[in-house]
């Protein structure tokens, strides 16, 4: 257990340093957007990984309803928390990027809007988790975890419809990338994946331990 932990953390540190080096020094400066474009590498990686995190919430919820095993519920809880953290960072970095690129902190650009709605959905998921206990909490949370993910594609479609409602500055983020940029992006993506994996593992173990302690306490009191 301890050895694998050290291994993962070592792996993560190396990847982190490597990706930072690539982002700041290896990747060329983008001609039109300039230096700010370098946020792109972490911003987009974080957004991919937060999708993964929410998909894991869905899987955990589904598996929990099928098997009733605590593990799946705790996995969903851990993944939702880290998904909200990452997705929040996507919003903040997107906003920091928007300021020098488009001159405003926030635009109702379809991507940003959809990300924000997603963030609200999973914050509600966490609020629900906080407002019930035990098996009931797990069941309610699983239902919301499933409904939320089913809703994600609809959120993205609807955000595109928003064009008619508020002014949108069109963005083309994924234009032809230079090889060095693509490499940097891929390394950042892998780094974020490993970061997600390590954080979820820690959070999952904490959640399982907390559940076990709560059970022991209940037994001791009884």
């Amino acid at each position: 257990m301890r050895r694998t932990d050290a291994l993962w953390i070592g792996c993560l540190s190396v990847l982190m340093l490597l990706s930072l080096w690539m982002v700041f020094l290896y990747a060329p400066t983008e001609r039109i957007m300039g230096q700010v474009q370098r946020i792109f590498y972490f911003h987009v990686s974080l957004s991919f990984v937060s999708f993964l995190a929410f998909a894991v919430v869905f899987l955990g919820s589904l598996q929990y309803l099928r098997t009733g095993r605590e593990f799946w519920d705790e996995l969903a809880a851990a993944s939702a928390e880290i998904g909200v953290l990452f997705n929040g960072l996507v919003i903040v970095t997107g906003s920091i990027w928007a300021r020098p690129t488009w001159g405003v902190w926030w635009t109702w650009d379809p991507q940003l809007t959809a990300t924000l709605i997603m963030q609200l959905m999973y914050m509600a998921y966490m609020a629900l988790r906080a407002s019930a206990e035990g098996e009931r909490q797990a069941r309610l949370a699983a239902v919301l975890g499933i409904v939320s993910l089913v809703n994600v594609p609809l959120v993205f479609f609807s955000a595109r419809l928003l064009r008619g409602i508020s002014p949108v500055i069109f963005t083309r983020r994924g234009r032809g990338l230079e090889p060095a940029m693509l490499e940097t992006f891929l390394v950042s993506l892998v780094t974020m994946l490993v970061l997600y994996f390590v954080l979820t593992r820690v959070r999952l173990r904490l959640g399982l331990a907390a559940a076990a302690v709560a059970r022991l306490r209940a037994e001791t009191l009884a």
Binding site: L65, L120, V143, L144, N151
Partner: protein
Amino acid sequence: MSRFWELFVKDARLELRTREILSAMCLMSLVVLVLVSFTIGLNPTVAREIAPGLLWVLLAFSSSVGIGRSFQMERERGAGNGVLESPVDRMTILAAKAASNLLWILIVQAFMLPLFAVLLNVDLTRALLPLVVVIVLGSVGLAIVGTLFAAMASVARLREALLPIALFPIVMPLLIACVGATRTILGGGALDLASAELRLLGAFDIILGAASLLLFETVVEEGL
């Protein structure tokens, strides 16, 4: 099917006697409407600009008031578990509750639309039929998903607070599509100009409706 009608008629009859939910929903619409006109200041230009959005804000808020009550009444009278113990398919219970919620929403809209048209100086007569189509499609999704969430909220600790927190983000795609379609219609466009919005609405109703029906049983497993 007959059980569905039985439950639906029981709810409808009870509500027609007390009219608690309907009056609360109408009042909520009115209060929000007045609040918006005072805080934002609805001169005719602004009113025309925000009318489609305001219509759906009113509908969403008033619906959440009504939907939130749908299981509370049973809870207070202790009848919720009675319904659940009776040998009725859980899906039927949700469907019946959602149908009565849909009915409340539509009745409230029937009262509010003329008032809305007068207060905001919007001409609804030309666009009435397509508007009704959009309102019905939107209300169906809102009622089904809302009823599932009302059941969830009524067993969780946050109760009243939880319903809007959880429901509004989930129905955001539905609201965006409805507002878009309403804007097209009020602007004088035909219904097929809003086909993208209508497709999204249909998809939302079908996908989330099916998910709600399937998941309801899980929510009420231990009673209300």
